[in-house]
Amino acid sequence: MSLLHLAVFAPFLLALFVPILYKLFRQIHTGWFVLILPVLLFTYFSRFIPLTKQGDVITERAAWIPSLDITVDFYVDGLGLLFALLITGIGSLVVLYSVFYLSKEKEKLNQFYVFLLLFMGSMLGVVLSDNLIVLYSFWEFTSLSSFLLIGYWNERERSRYGAQKSLLITVFGGLSLLGGIILLSIMGNTFSIRELISQSGQLIDHSLFTPALLLVLLGAFTKSAQFPFHIWLPDAMEAPTPVSAYLHSATMVKAGLYLVARLSPVFAESGLWLWLVSITGLITLFWGSYSAIKQTDLKAILAFSTISQLGLIMSLLGLGAAALHYESMGETIYLAATVAAVFHLINHATFKGSLFMVAGIIDHETGTRDIKKLGGLMQVMPITFTVAIIGAFSMAGLPPFNGFLSKEMFLASMVSVLELDIFNMDTWGVLFPVIAWVASVFTFIYSMIVVLKPFTGKLSLKLLDRKPHEAPIGMLLSPIILASLVIVFGIFPNLLSSSIIKPAVASIQPSLVGPDFQVHIAFWHGPEPEVWMTIGIIVLGVLLYKTLSKWQGITMWVPDRISLNSLYDNGLRGLERSSSFVMKCLMTGSLRTYLLSVFLFFILSLGFTIYWKDAFTLDTKHFAPIGFYELLLAGVIVAAAIAILFAKSRLTSIIILGAVGYAISLFFVLLRAPDLALTQLVIETISVSLFLLCFFHLPLLASRKEERMTFRLNNAMISIGVGVIVTLIALSAHSNKLFDSISSYYLENAYKEAGGKNVVNVILVDFRGLDTMFEITVLSIAALGIFAMIKLRLTRRKDQS
């Protein structure tokens, strides 16, 4: 354990105390206590910046399950640090924002902050773990905390729906990720990411390489809401806005990007990887930006925009893999794609975080997020408007904001695809810049919708639930900080380039980034194609935005019936219906049906096994001789057992059962088992008295309903089957001795080790003492159950009294 371990587990520890703090200090908003932790952690992680800048990696080890090669090894390198800073940095701002967003009187703050801290800790675990199993555990924990946070307002039906949807889709992906991890560990014989990376050259030829690649990507795509798994993200917007800003735009949905980036050195040599990652990213980019335009809810627009931006980063990460195939040429243009991916990841967190917070403020102050009702808020909320305009212009890719820079780099990378001549890229590659450009036009349009629709135009107070005014300064603080970062990173991008971006790129492409590699981001780099593309985007974007009302209807042409959402809904409904059908067939509520299936299975499976394995043998050599008394007792038992079947009254059958029991205890005497005989005698006496106690005072049943002949015949057939099978097993078990008996050990050691001459007793109280203790436990549980049943009085009793 080390300070780094403490840092990752600190949110979990604090989560334990949040409910106590909430109870003790009701008048103080719980968020203030929580805020301290991410700020501390952010400072702690910032100290690593100089170290990773020099290419150092900090590793801290701790054993967890050494026998399975599972260790809690955390390591901080460029990529891990970038994410850790995002998680704690945005985390601090989000907690600060939530203090003003969530009222301390009305909301269940104790739950909210526990979930949020769980998420923070597990997300840190995901990005800092070296062991894939540990990474997976934290990965599922992020899905779980996301589920809890989406369903935070669990009295709303939509919240529960969204929470379930996100859980089903991300956990499905998580399971396939686990499958991929296991395949990777079979190939590389290790769970450690760095050890896998070190042997990546040999892995690519392994027969499991492609399945592992597909499974890992499935995990990453579901988590990062890539097409066609993106459908959970818009429904996740039911969560409180701080959660949407934090989990569903800045951090958790980037876990998939993290995974792709982290495992790039393992998989990126493969052409399949390059194609899948970049194409899926592009489709998501296009589909997300296209769908964003038809939304009317501010948060829904932002959700689709997040999907689209995640696709953008994903496609850049995929394209970055091309650099591996050009290393001899000293070509850095494809490496630039990775640089752009990392830079845009940071930029997206800043501008999208601020936009989500703005949407939250609008919702908070006006009571609606519907852009049809909103308008003209510019006059009443000037500060919010300024923040919104910075965020939206950055998202649209306008100078001088950071989004402009990374958008230009993105376009440049897409244009460079035209020069690729590997994996058939030369034929289909032309699609890349085209799709990227079209999607960017859509991005421009929805960015304008986000900022212009609510803030410009006419303010119509009638449509709003409350009279809007500027948000309190505390609520504005976080978006203002993020908006300032948008400008700072836009004007001075090289603040980040060598300290954060270069180490992160070095972790994604370790074989390519040497000591002389430099990241330099510049505003103006000559009249390159990307500049013309940006100008084109702005011109066409403005034109299309002006005429939005005329063509927006076209986006609605996909009917709801064939959408992915209805596929999900119908699939879920079908699953529920078919499982309830199967359930109804199996669980009839009739004990007889259950027992019949148990006995039938018993007969068929054992009978078949005996037949198939030819297991029945009869060895008469070791048979013991039959004495007169034994024959007599056997006759008594058989006669009594059969007599029970025909007994008419309860009393008779109880007494006959007692007779069987006593006969068996006499049998134990003859078979040299005195302890058994004694126990059986005592137990049988108690049993019979208990039977009589219970049933003597009850009235005799009016003659039992005549059971139909077929009913009895069926029962008789099954019973005879069971009897025959058991007889066969008894004989075979006696005749076959597959293993040496362990009994001689007890005979030899009973006196030596335990000092007792009665071997049976010694076994029970000494050698197998623990078993006996559990036996006593079972008895006490039965006694408790009996006590509870006797105490239980249902309605009939109440009526009588």
Partner: protein, 113 residues
Amino acid sequence: MELLMAIVIGILFMCATYLMLSKSMLRIIIGTGLLSHGAHLLILTMGGLKGGSVPLLSDETASYVDPLPQALILTAIVISFGVTSFLLVLAYRSYQELGTDDMEEMRGTETNE
């Protein structure tokens, strides 16, 4: 002897099964009682019968019967007593509360209550 025992065990199991398949709760409980008797004898028979003297150590005797099945059965007797008494009280109480001991009448699932 073992052959005789095997047949006795088979008959015990057969009767137990028949009783357990009937509708009356009391008969089901008696069935489980018979079933455990059969199982005890089955364990004893599997180990071999009368292979030596009683497993009480002394210097004179050379061979003993297998003590392990006996230890197992001893545990099983006590457990089956626990189960039987639990079922009995369950039957008794449900008869008191519901006025029937017919399993088909008591039948109910979560959906058709």
